[in-house]
Every structure is written in C-alpha cells, then in structure tokens.
C-alpha cells in the first residue's frame, strides 16, 4: 500500500450469532476495523449490555482500590510481556468473585490495623503523660521544700512540710486535668485558660520528645503534655470544656506515686502486646497484597478488554429474529481476508452453530482515511495530520515532507557543529528506543521529543549538510579545500604596499587583479568570508535569492501535486481550468524572477560587476512596462517580458470564470450547440464522470470506488460556484506574491542563527582565551562549560524550536494550500492496544 493516498474502505456488515463476544475479541486483538454506532439515538443507560458494563466498572473500582493498596505497601506489580486475552463470560464470574473476596479481606484488615494503631497511640500518649507529669510534681515538691513561695497549692504528698494551708483555707477541692495537646495550639490554650479562669488554674506543660502521628489527619507533629491544677468544680467544668475545644487527649491523673508506677507498668506490657499484634497484622496484609499483585496486571488487562468488547457490542444492533447481531464496520479492502479469518477464528472459539460472516454494503458517506505508516514515517505523518487529516483518497503530502521538512529546517538552522550535536542526540534516542519505550515516562515534553526522534535525526543530518554549504561551524568557517582568494597576489601585483597597510583600516580585495581570485571554492562558501567585514552584504544577497528560488520550486511542486488529485477524482476539466492557469500565473511571474536570478549569476562575472543590473529594478519595470532607458539583460528582453505578462494576465480570468462556466454548461446538458434530445440526455448523464460509484469485486484493487468530491447537484447554484471560484482565484493570485515573500523567512532565520552563534562565541568563548599563560586554563574550563550550556539552551533548543515552527508553517500554509484539503476523518480501528489504561495514567501500574 503506497503512502500516497489513503486506503480504500468498504462498509461491511458482520452478522454474528452466538459467538459475538469471541469474534469481537479476535477483531480487537488484530485492530483491523472501525465500528460504527448503529444505535445513536439510544442513551447509554438503555443499551443492551448495560449490566455487563456495570459489572466491569465494579471490577475496575475494586482493582483500583487494590492497586492503590499495593502501591502504598511499595510492592512492585510484575508486568507480563504478552497481554492476556479477554476472558470468556464464564470466567468473568470467577474473577469477579475473587476480586470481591480480596476487597473484603483487605478492608477488614485495614480497619483492624487502624483500630490497633489508634489504641497504640493512646497508650503511648498516656505513658508520656505519666512520665512527664511525674517530673512536674517532683519539681514542684522540691520547690515546696524550699519554702512556701507560692500561695497556690500543695503537692499531693499531703504529709510534706509545705502544708496545705492555702487550699484548705479556701475549702475547695483541688483537681487535676492532664493530657496532651498539639504543640501549635499550646500558646492559644494557655491564653484562653488564663482569660477564662482568671488565674485560678495553673498550667504546666512540657514537650514530648517523640513526634507522634495524629491519626485523624495523618500529620506527624510534636505534642505537649500539660497538667492543669485547679480548684473548684465550676472551674473544673470550664477547663474541661476548653480542653474539648482544643481537641486535647485527656487521660486520668493518678493520685499518687504508687498508682502511677502501677499504671506505667501495665501500660508497658499492653504496648508490647499491641506492637506484636500490629506487626503480625502488617505481615499478613503484606502477604495478601503480594499474592494479589501477581495476578493484578492480567486482571487489569482482562477487565479493560472485556469492557471494550461490551462497549462495541452495544454499538451493534440486533436483527429481527433477535438471535443475530449486526455490526457495521469500516474495513480496508486489503485486510478483508484477515477479517474473514478473524471471524472464523472467533466463531470457532465461541462454538457457534452458525459461523459469522461479512457482506459488503454500498454506502454514500465518505469513509475515514487510513494511511499506513511505520515508526519512521509516523512522525512526519503526525505533523501533516496536525494541520488536517486528508480527505479520502487524497494525495498526502507526508512522503514528500520526509525530505522537504528537514531541508527547509536545515536552511534556517545551517550550522555544522549544531547539526552534529543534534544528530548525535537523535541517534542516541533512536538507538535506545526499545529501552525508552519500556520506560514510558510521564514527562510530556520528553515524550514529544522522543516521538519525533526520526524527525530530529533527519533535521540534524540535513543541518550538517547546510552547515557545510554555509561553511559555518559554531560560527567559524572550516578551510577544507583551500580558499580561492589570495591576499599575497594583491602585493605581488603592486596593488598594496606596506604603506597601504599602515594608512588604511579597511582594504578591498579586487578580484579583477590576476591571482587574487583563483576560482570558486569547491563546496560551499569560501572560508575567507568569515574574516571579511562585508560578509553580511554578500551572504544576505545570496540567501535572499536562494530563499526565493526554494520558495518558487516548493510552491510549483505543490501546484503540480494538485494534478494527481484532479486526475484521481476524475475531474479532468480541473486540469485545464484550474491547474494550467495556476501554474502559468506562478511560473510566468515568479518563475521568470528565478530565471533572471540565475541569468545574472551566470552572465555577469567579476569583470562586469560594477555595471551588473539590479534584478529588482528589472522586475518592477516589467510590471509597469517601462524599461526603455536601461540596458536590457539580454536581447529580446522587452518582448519576452510583455509576452509573459500577457500570459499571466490572461490566466487570471480563465481561473476566475473557466470552471463556473464549464460546470454551468455541463448542467445545462453539455454540447449546447446540438439540440437536446431526451435519450441523449440520459446517455450524457451516464457518461458523465460525476456520480456513479461502481460496485466492484472485493478482490480487485485496481478499480476503486469513485467517490466524487463534487457530485453534480440537483440544483446548480451558479452564483455560489462563481463566488467560490472568485475567492479561490483571489486567494491564489495574491497568495502567490505573499507566499513568495514569506519564504524570505528562510533567509531571516538563518541570518539570526548565524549572528547569535557569532555573538555567543565572541562574548563567551573568547573570554576563555584572553589569558595566555597557564593560568588561563582556570578560566577556559568553566567558560567552555558555560558556552556548551548556552549553545544547547539558546541555539539548539530555542532556535531549533523556532526553525521547526517556521518550517512547519511554510509547509502548512504556503505548500499545502496549493493542493491539500485536509478535511477528512481519521480511521480509528478498534484495537485493544490503543485503548488508554486509567491505571497507567495514575502511575499505579
């Protein structure tokens, strides 16, 4: 199948009975056909296989939960190389059962684990609290022993020397509240207590060394143990309420030291037990997850395939007897045999009594477009399709883009050194592509670069070529063959002396002096220009002319490609009424400009260089038809120019009116000179190359279905066609001028690149050479690193992207609008490997 045009499509009708599931499974594995929706008016909830799809989605939900748990436990899911087939319906229930059981088990274990962890946290906090409040009490008792400095309250050791005088005086009961609070809330807590209780409470607190996890939020943070001593019941209630507000964990404060020691002991043993149980629970959980992870991958793939098959089954319709399923598909003609084979295989697997079969049905819709491509051409195909998918059976610009796109890029990028770096990068990507395909990175930018690796490789290689032609390598020229200019000759012929050197800052080499110019450099631009001050004047003139030449050739090629379209769609009149005037207009004006450029290059040498004419003046004079005063370029120039101008002028009305008038004449019955007779009109209609599609044998690929782009309508709207053609004419004619000028961007970007490269060398690299002693190495090494980084980031990435974009624009607009419609629909086959996987996107697989 040539990549020239898209594959012919037939609409098929597949009848299946009893073995639909297996047939569609086979088709999905092969990825041959695109299914059409036969029930577009039915909502998704009313379709036939809704319950099966719901079941699949339930299984997907469970699988998602399972994969998340596996991911949390940091277990790797082993992937198999071959993806498993979709399971038959009887196996589905088994899988469903297994998944549900797993889900129940996992959720129970997880719940238990959480309970245990909460418990453990409480016990740990209690332990900390007891230990820390012990230090409070003891420190206070030490203070009390020194003397009653505080009036507050005595310690719990009622027999100590301090005395409970203050408290007993008030006759109120001393109460304690102790617990833990988060570190961040402590200051606010203290302030609130002070304001509310007006100093009748004492708050002592100390930070816990260990960071504890707050189970509700999952945060790990520091906690603070506090001890509030208060007296009075009302204060006690207020304090309680405040503690609740601040989400403190409160624990009972022991009465005395013995009780404290007892509680600490029991807590210790309980914590130990709990830890044991927790470890065992975690081990068990891990075991379960490990076992599940072994089959997780195949389950995911199987469920995905099942769901896809049921979706497709929903698109089919049942026939009258309700036993047979009818599916309509688009299938490429060349794959028909494979399709039949797949259906047979499916019927065999499904043990159906009646095998499924295929018929062709006639259709009037345009089929979707399929262009087969391999890993090399798919990159170029995708950049063409980004503009628009081609119409069915239209000429595709993709195979030509493989060469023209990298070439136009290279014209704008031309630098030998940068080209080499780019090619090496692309080569590395190409050589390690198997490994990279397995890695499946999530970084979008990287995937974009990786998918375009062949494009980048071609661009790099072509840049090496244009770099050699422009003789530009990191902004320095290479002298491979020996320059054609000799300065010594200027001295030997007594043009220059030492005195001339001392008195003049700039000198001009005269190619007319013998020995100075020894012939052109064999390949590319002479390296002496790198040192010339008027380098840009020379290069600009050269590059501008080259851009116009390349542009005119590219556009003419586009116009010529339209012939193939016209001939294929059996619109021969378009060749005479559209193609010919377009080509004549383009070539008579801009082709002549190209001719003049070449003529000037060839006809005028260094000897006549001071009286070489300006092409632009001649071109302008051609249009305003004035040119008597200047010497002609060649004899007969005025005559030829007038002739070309006339041809171009005449082709405009032909382009404008030719096609509408012809179509009008056809509509009126054609051959208007003869009188119309009834039967003749019928015969005329059948001879008309407009409508009739031909029903051909499947096997023959030679005679394709002729789908006409513009079927002769029942009502011929002359004004509409005229308007359409007028727009096309104006677009083409004005477009010729603007598009030719647009190609000058080839010059502009290559100038920008060369200048940037030169500036980078002069301002960065030259600094490294400034110091000539050995100390200079200390500067040279980092300067080179900086130079390399800047080269890659500015010149390769930024300029590369810019040149890529402009080359793409030249293709999309200036080239493709000469022949390409690009209003087709892409063929999307039903293929399991093309279906997206939700789990892969979440990074769970």
């Amino acid at each position: 199948m040539t990549p020239f045009s898209s594959v012919t499509r037939r609409k098929m009708c597949i009848r299946e009975s009893g073995s639909e599931y297996d047939c569609i499974s086979e088709l999905g594995e092969l990825g041959l056909v695109e299914f059409r929706d036969l029930n577009p008016s039915v909502s998704s909830f009313q379709r036939r296989f809704v319950s099966e799809i719901k079941r699949c989605e339930e299984m997907e939900r469970i699988l998602g939960y399972l994969l998340r748990e596996i991911h949390k436990a940091r277990i790797a899911v082993p992937e198999e190389d071959e993806s498993p087939l979709a399971p038959p319906p009887r196996q589905v229930l088994e899988i469903m059962e297994q998944l549900q059981r797993l889900e129940m088990e996992l959720s129970e274990v997880a719940k238990n684990k959480e309970k245990l962890q909460r418990n453990l946290l409480e016990l740990t906090e209690y332990t900390h609290m007891l230990k820390i409040t012990q230090t409070f009490i003891h420190s206070r008792s030490r203070h009390e022993a020194l003397g009653p400095q505080y009036e507050e309250f005595p310690t719990m050791e009622t027999d100590s020397a301090g005395g409970c005088t203050g408290m007993q005086r008030l006759g109120a009961k001393l109460g304690f509240i102790s617990g833990l609070i988060q570190r961040v809330k402590v200051e606010a807590f203290e302030r609130m207590l002070w304001r509310v209780c007006k100093g009748y409470t004492i708050l002592s607190y100390a930070e816990v060394d260990e960071s504890l996890t707050d189970l509700d939020t999952g945060e790990i943070g520091k906690s603070v143990v506090f001890l509030i001593s208060f007296w009075g019941d009302q204060i006690g209630q207020k304090v309680q309420k405040i503690c609740d507000c601040y989400h403190c964990h409160l624990y009972p404060h022991p009465e005395n030291d013995e009780e404290r020691a007892d509680v600490l002991d029991s807590l210790r043993t309980r914590i130990q037990d709990l830890n044991n149980v927790l470890h065992r629970t975690e081990d068990y959980l891990r075991q379960v997850l490990q076992k599940a992870s072994e089959s997780a991958f195949s389950w995911v793939v199987q469920v995905k395939k099942m769901k896809a098959i049921y979706h497709i089954l929903n698109l089919c319709s049942f026939d009258v007897t309700n036993k047979c399923l009818i599916a309509e598909v688009w299938c490429p003609i060349s794959d028909l045999a494979k399709l039949r084979g797949a259906l047979e295989e499916g019927s065999r697997k499904g043990d159906a009594t009646v095998p499924s079969f295929v018929n062709r049905i006639p259709c009037t819709d345009t089929p979707p477009t399929l262009l087969r491509s391999n890993k090399f051409t798919s990159g170029f195909q995708s950049i063409v399709e980004a503009y628009g998918v081609g119409d069915y059976r239209e000429v595709s610009p993709a195979p030509y883009t493989i060469i023209t796109f990298p070439f136009l890029f290279a014209v704008m990028f031309g630098d030998l050194g940068h080209g080499i770096v780019m090619s090496l990068f692309a080569l590395w990507m190409v050589l390690t592509e198997k490994k990279q395909n397995k890695k499946r990175s999530n970084n979008e930018i990287w995937t974009t670069f990786f998918n375009g690796r062949y494009i980048i490789l071609m661009m790099g290689l072509f840049s090496v070529y244009t770099g050699l032609i422009y003789n530009d390598c990191f902004s320095k020229s290479l002298n491979i063959f020996g320059s054609g200019w000799s300065i010594k000759a200027m001295f030997t012929n007594q043009q220059w002396t030492n005195k001339t050197l001392q008195n003049n800052a700039l000198l001009t080499m005269d190619p007319n002096v013998s020995g100075v110019f020894n012939g052109p450099y064999p390949f590319g631009i002479d390296p002496i220009w790198n040192m010339a001050v008027n380098r840009l004047s020379f290069l600009n003139s050269y590059k501008m002319k080259m851009s116009v030449i390349v542009g005119v050739i590219h556009m003419s090629f586009g116009v010529v490609l339209s012939v193939f379209n016209h001939l294929h769609f059996k619109q021969k009149f378009n060749v005479y009424l559209l193609f010919l005037p377009e080509l004549l207009f383009l070539l008579c004006l801009f082709g002549y400009l190209v001719f003049m450029i070449f003529y000037k290059w060839l006809a005028f040498s260094a000897r006549e260089s001071n009286r070489a004419p300006s092409i632009l003046i001649h071109f302008i004079n051609m249009f305003i038809m004035q040119g008597k005063d200047i010497t002609p370029l060649y004899p007969g120039q005025t005559g030829l120019q007038i002739f070309l101008l006339l041809v171009a002028m005449l082709s405009v009305p032909v382009l404008l009116l030719g096609k509408p008038l012809y179509l009008y004449w056809l509509y009126r019955g054609g051959k208007g000179l003869r009188r119309r007779r009834g039967y003749e009109r019928v015969r005329r209609a059948s001879e008309d190359n407009s409508i009739t599609p031909s029903y051909d044998d499947d096997e023959e690929e030679g005679f394709d279905e002729v789908s006409n782009r513009e079927p002769l309508p029942k009502q011929f709207d002359f004004a509409d066609v005229c308007l359409h053609q007028a727009i096309h004419t104006i677009e083409f004619c004005l477009g010729c001028i603007s598009n030719t000028a647009s190609y000058l961007r080839l010059w502009a970007l290559s100038l920008a690149h060369a200048q940037l490269s030169e500036v980078l060398w002069a301002m960065v690299m030259r600094l490294g050479f400034k110091i000539t002693t050995k100390v200079g190495v200390v500067f040279l090494v980092p300067v080179f690193g900086l130079f390399a980084t800047l080269t890659v980031s500015i010149l390769l990435v930024m300029e590369g992207l810019s040149a890529f974009l402009h080359a793409l624009r030249l293709h999309w607009v200036e080239f493709q609008n000469k022949f390409y419609h690009g209003t087709g629909v892409k063929f999307v086959p039903f293929d399991f490997s093309l279906l997206p996987s939700v789990f892969e996107q979440e990074g769970l697989l």
Binding site: A76, V421, F474, K476, S477, N479, P527, N530, M531, A762, M765, R766, G768, F769, K770, I771, T772, T773, K774, G776, V777, L780, V781, F784, G785, A788, T789
Partner: protein
C-alpha cells in the same frame, strides 16, 4: 567511609556529555590554534604592540597562537578528568538504584 555520591543521575549524565564535547572540541581547537589558522585570529589576544614592535614578524603572534593552543590542550585534559569523575558518579548512581529496588 562517607558516600562518594554527590550528584544525581541527571547531573552526572550532563557531566559526561559536556566532558565528551569538551574533550573533542578543545582538542580540535588546540590543533587549529597550533596550526595558526587564520579564521581564529580574532580569538588570539594580541595587542597593537605585538604587530608593530615585532623584531621578527610574525613570531610574536605565532607564539601567542601556540600558547593559546597549549591552554586548549590542557583544558581538554582537565575535561578528561571531569569526564572520569562523572562516569564514576553514573556508575555509583546505577548501583544505588539497583540496591533500592
């Protein structure tokens, strides 16, 4: 012994690339400077004096060319060392990755 690893995998890869590029490009620049290529005249830091007050023209300029050339070769050697260090880092990174998974 503390770990010798001080840069991540991407930095080490960048190091290798720049080192290889540096070695090749600086070596070639050294060769071209030693061959007294005319295209590189702007990069040689000569002064007015080197031209006018030269006893034996153009030896001053030539010696400057040679000096810059030698500097380039030494810098290329330094980049060989940098490349070796980066290669070690890449190997260490791979080993660490292998041990973790």
């Amino acid at each position: 012994m503390p770990s010798l690893l001080f840069c991540g995998p991407k930095m080490a890869a960048c190091g290798i690339v720049i080192s290889i590029w540096g070695v090749i490009m600086l070596a070639m620049l050294g060769i071209f400077f030693s061959a007294k290529s005319a295209v590189l005249i702007e990069d040689v830091p000569f002064t007015e004096e080197d031209i006018t007050k030269d006893q034996n023209p153009p030896q001053n300029i030539y010696s400057l060319y040679n000096q810059v050339g030698i500097n380039c070769f030494i810098a290329a050697a330094v980049y060989v060392a940098v490349g070796a260090v980066s290669l070690c880092q890449v190997r260490l990174n791979k080993r660490q990755e292998y041990m973790v998974t």
